[in-house]
Amino acid sequence: MSDHHAEGRYTTDTALRVKAIESLLIEKNLLDPKAIERIVDLYENKIGPRNGARVVAKAWTDPTYKKWLLEDGTKAIASLGYSGVQGEDMVVVENTATVHNVLVCTLCSCYPWPTLGLPPNWYKEAPYRSRVVIDPRGVLKEFGVSIPSGVEVRVWDSNADLRYMVLPMRPAGTEGMSEEQLADLVTRDSMIGVGFPATVASAA
């Protein structure tokens, strides 16, 4: 991994500096090394886009839930057990035949952790943050997503208090599928707006 270009050129020194600050905080009894392992496990293995996928699948199958989700995203999402840091105030924006929504945080890296986990690196880097607000269709093309000219593209800029999540359109040909099967079609990118849910054929 050390030659991974996206890690940046400060990596070796940075790694040492991180180790140094960690050692000092542990020596001063301000940090519990076991807690570090627990936090890492939580965000590597337990909190991730599968949470958001369950929210989406429920909205696709339960019109009452969907209405609630769009009216009060925070509460509707919390009712499924997903809340907490970086998800305190959630707004869900719905993709339709006439509107496609995309999320960004131009100022930093705000992202709905409880439903989507930690953001991908491109979401936190300059090219996406700078350009998606002035050329969303061009950016979407880089992701392989082409939005017809008749469909309006809306870009939502997150902030430190408010986080967005996209409710993608339910793919055709999924009638009769269970909520669980539908959740398997929902991709992380489709909930950011830079992708679509998997189709039944591609998921099979």
Binding site: L30, I134, A160
Partner: protein
């Protein structure tokens, strides 16, 4: 605050580096930096606004060329000094010590 972090609409940053199946943390130091930050945040060491202000005060070149979690390191160092948890120069001394051990 206006500054380099306010990237919306700026031009010339090139293509988006889209990686499929990218790991959540790309290196062990990112893993540990993330967790340390969450724990010190939960412990009341700083809040979101203080964090943002610290990152927004980074040197613009450093901000744009460093990996993301290095921004967090920058902020944590600043808070540790502000709170008197780390004396000035203490972290550099520890880095030198670890370097010597590794050599």
């Amino acid at each position: 605050m206006n500054g380099i972090h306010d990237l919306g609409g700026k031009q010339g940053f090139g293509k988006i580096n889209i990686l499929q199946d990218e790991p959540i943390f790309r290196a062990e130091w990112e893993r540990r930096m993330f967790a340390m930050f969450i724990l010190t945040f939960a412990g009341g060491f700083f809040n979101v606004d203080k964090f943002r202000f610290a990152v927004e005060n980074m040197d613009p070149v450093h901000y744009l060329t460093s990996p993301y979690y290095e921004h967090w390191l920058h902020a944590l160092e600043q808070f540790a000094e502000e709170h008197g948890v780390l004396a000035p120069g203490e972290l550099d001394a520890k880095v030198a010590e670890l370097k010597k051990e590794a050599a």
